[in-house]
């Protein structure tokens, strides 16, 4: 490892360093605003360093990590999302708890884990990244430890994520036993010849199971609604975006580089997962009355849409996934951001009644939430529309018509519950509940920024498309 190898790790080093600095700062001088500032500066520096590192890409740093444009793009996405979520956390923690500062350390560690994931080129770094991410997430979900719901969410996530890691590990072991390597690039050359070996197929199946748990796709989705509901709103935002996005990016890299998604059994397996996620996610969302649960099921369905693009397996498909993830990040952070900003001291604002007549009380917030929901539903002017368009285009170019048709039908089902939330916000409420509106503390600016970004990408996506075009795995 030489100097420029180390230099190209700069984004990772910056995030890791910030987390240590923040930890030391907390130990000596507990100040919420200071912690936030340090975190934000560190994340911003990591984001900025991407431009310094970009000329060196692609570069293999040790057998474990590969820093190519693909990884750097997702680094950017992860750091930007973490930045927004950190600001959202500030107002939320200020209202909810006395021990505030440690969450930022966990947030940084989780971001680090995600970044390792998207840059991993070896089973070891894959697993390390995943565990760094997961362990931080257990603690984050249960962060409000004096309440029962977050504790329940934390424990549930711990047990299920732990068992899914076991599946993953076993799958890796099987593939290693057959092929004798854990290096992604060696695997990519060896896998096509070994595609009929039962050990390899079994190993792939276990890996898909492990990844499926993390992505929360049907039939591995059972934890998602409970954890989403129980975890603090900004943490849920992180869970739904950064953690899932990083794992999806990794899934795409591993399968595309080895061509494993072309194996018939793997293709069929993913097709079944996609169909089940789209239909079951959207159908179960219809039955919910809790906003966080609705968003949880909606994110299950969105992972299904992403897998449709994944199945198309072409350059267009990988661009579609990148674009979709950007839109999904903006939208989901925006939606959970609204929940965060509205949350009162004792509990999160997660029932539908909390949103009744919101438009007449806080038109700005309701307008932003409406935009986010319309984007999730894929209506024009929002980034969600172009993202869905891109996915359908990828599917159409690959000719997987059945999957596209199910995507269309299930997204129409999805309209029902998005509209239900929207119409609740516009309902006229007779007796005006007069409770003090919590102060957002910067959260509002994040939301406005996200809304502008959402519309900008929905109307003028050219610049992002240019970036996305260069982001190819391998």
């Amino acid at each position: 490892m030489n100097g420029s190898d180390l230099f190209s790790l700069l984004p990772l080093v910056l995030i890791a360093g910030t987390s240590i600095l923040v930890m030391l700062a907390i130990a000596t001088w507990r100040k919420h605003w200071l912690t936030l500032c340090m975190t934000l500066v560190g994340i911003a520096a990591a984001f900025g360093s991407l431009w310094l590192v970009a000329p060196l890409a692609p570069r293999r740093v040790t057998p474990l990590l590969i820093l190519d444009h693909y990884a750097l793009f997702y680094f950017g996405l992860i750091t930007a999302a973490t930045f927004a979520i950190a600001i959202l956390c500030y107002g939320y923690l200020q209202r909810h708890t006395e021990t505030r500062e440690e969450l930022y350390v966990l947030l940084l560690v989780a971001a680090l884990g995600s970044m390792v994931l998207v840059a991993s080129s070896h089973f070891v770094s894959f697993f390390l990244g995943l565990e760094i991410l997961s362990v931080a997430l257990y603690a984050m979900s249960a962060y409000l430890h004096t309440r029962s719901r977050p504790l329940e969410a934390g424990i549930k996530y711990l047990i299920l994520a732990g068992s899914s890691s076991a599946f993953l590990l076993f799958g890796m072991a099987l593939i290693y036993a057959q092929l004798g390597t854990m290096d992604l690039f060696r695997l990519a050359t060896l896998l096509p010849d070994a595609q009929n070996s039962p050990l390899v197929l079994g190993g792939l199946a276990f890996i898909v199971t492990g990844i499926g748990f993390k992505l929360g796709v049907v039939p591995f989705h059972l934890w998602a609604p409970d954890v989403y509901e129980g975890a603090p709103a900004p943490v849920t935002a992180f869970l739904a975006t950064v953690s899932k996005g990083a794992i999806f990016a990794l899934l795409l890299r591993y399968f595309y580089s080895s061509g494993a998604q072309h194996f018939r059994p793997v293709f069929v397996l993913f097709a079944i997962i996609a169909i089940a996620s789209m239909l079951i996610g959207n159908l179960l969302a219809l039955l919910q009355n809790n906003i966080k649960r609705i968003l949880a099921y909606s994110s299950i369905a969105h992972m299904g849409y992403l897998i449709v693009a994944f199945e198309a397996s072409s350059a267009t498909a990988s661009e579609a996934v990148a674009f979709y993830l950007v839109a999904y990040f903006i939208t989901t952070i925006g939606a959970f951001g609204v929940v965060t900003v509205l949350s009162e001291e004792e509990r999160d604002a997660d029932t539908l009644e909390d949103y009744a007549g919101l438009f007449w009380r806080r038109p700005m917030l309701a307008g932003i939430f409406t935009l986010m929901l319309l984007s999730l539903a894929g209506i024009p002017v929002t980034a969600g529309f172009l993202a869905k368009f891109y996915v359908i285009a990828a599917g159409a170019s690959a000719g997987i018509w059945a999957l596209i048709l199910i995507l269309v039908i299930s997204s129409v089902i999805g309209l029902f519950y998005y509209l239900r939330v929207v119409i609740t916000m516009f309902a006229q409420v007779r007796e005006e509940k007069l409770h003090a509106e919590p102060h957002a503390m910067g959260g509002n600016y994040v939301l406005v920024g996200l809304a502008i970004l959402l519309v900008w990408l929905g109307v003028y996506p050219g610049p992002l498309l240019n970036v996305v075009r260069r982001v190819l795995p391998m």
Binding site: A396, V412, F416, L419, I423, G462
Partner: protein, 500 residues
Amino acid sequence: MILLSMIVILLVGGLLAWGAGHRSALASRWISLIAVSTDFVIGFIVWIRSAGHVDVLQQQAWLRELNWIWIPQFGVHFHLALDGLSLLLLMLTFLLGVTSVLASWTEIQDAVGFFHLNLLWVLAGIAGVFLAMDLFLFYFAWELMLVPMYFLIAIWGHERRVYAAAKFFIFTQLSGLLMLIAILAFYFAHHTATGIYTFEYTDLLGTPLSPHVAVWIMLGFFVAFAVKLPMFPLHTWLPDAHTEAPTAGSVVLAGLLLKTGAYGLLRFVMPLFPAAARTFAPVAMILAVVGILYGAILAFAQTDLKRLVAYTSVSHLGFVLLGIFAWNKLALQGAVITIICHGVSTGALFVLVGALQERLHTRELGRMSGLWETVPRLGGAGLFFALASMGLPGLGDFVGEFMILLGVYQKSRVLTAVAAVGILASTFYALKFVQYAFHGPNDHHWALPDLGVREAIIVTPMIVILLWLGLYPQPVFNTFNPAMETLQQHAGQTMQARRR
């Protein structure tokens, strides 16, 4: 630029009206009125200038055009273009836009600013649909007009507004997504044939497709337009949406949104897939005739005035569908005239029903009778538009439906005969409306204010237009004839290209 400015005026006007709405409802109404009227005047000037300058020799006889690159990575252009057909539909859009703003002047009292934002943005979306010459842009505008319409129904509608709004949105959204798949399939088929990725309408004309593929793609487009039109049996969202919407919403729905379906068939389905459309024509024409009769009979059976008027739309748009699929000169001319006249006469009927409802707080025919005694001017206007709707010679609707029947006669005598029965059936519902509402004794002792100045200002131009189109429609024919000839030419060329 003038095309873009028409849309931008509506979008910006909507935002201004929203902003002004917080301070003063009246300011917001005036801003909207000025914005829509400005567009109307611009459209009128374009029309006057274009008269006589139409150049038949040119391949593409656009009166005005704007073509910018939008998303180069996909080959998407921001391409707006105007021909005679689009021009007339735009004029209709702005006329009914003014009507809707005036009709909501006293009806809408809650969240006035936001109402006008939605109203103007619907109109902007509709104008975009009539102008877009890039399939991506077209789909964008097509979806864009839905959301504000949804809000118009869901927030300011009547009793079952949430149900009606959701039903409307879901029907149109599902069919719209099917069209999106068809657009994309067409896009990739074009790429396989020519190696170029484009959504450009003029480039896509004449794409060679295998008959099998063409039928599927055509059906994707057709479903989206047939739901909007609405064609029997895809019409079930319409009575609910029309009934629950506020007056302005009903006017825009019946007068304009339905027309986007007819426009789509004329502009896209027939020229892009002539062969597939020809094989499909018998089915479409039979469904059209069923719709004509079904709509008329159901209209007669209604006791809710708005539902009655809503079902007449199913019947009239059945004529339009019939005319389009007959695809000869006479039938097409008739279809366009019917599109315009139906927009005016049904729009006016919804305004009158809205005026009645504002006075009586009911739409039940059973609770009205003898209203002529107390509101003679409103009754007279009602009679006029009812007669127009039933196709009285001398008024615009008659010209359109008569020409459609003439055109269809060359294709199928049976269908013509059955469709003609539909005109007969329309007399029943039109007369029922007049008789039950205005004639008879005034049992309920209604004493109501008659048509005011504002309402008279709305209704009078509509009466004039219907008379004009009924007595001397030639200028309108002159405006859209070159456009229709071009469309027919395209269809013919596409046919030849595929045969090769």
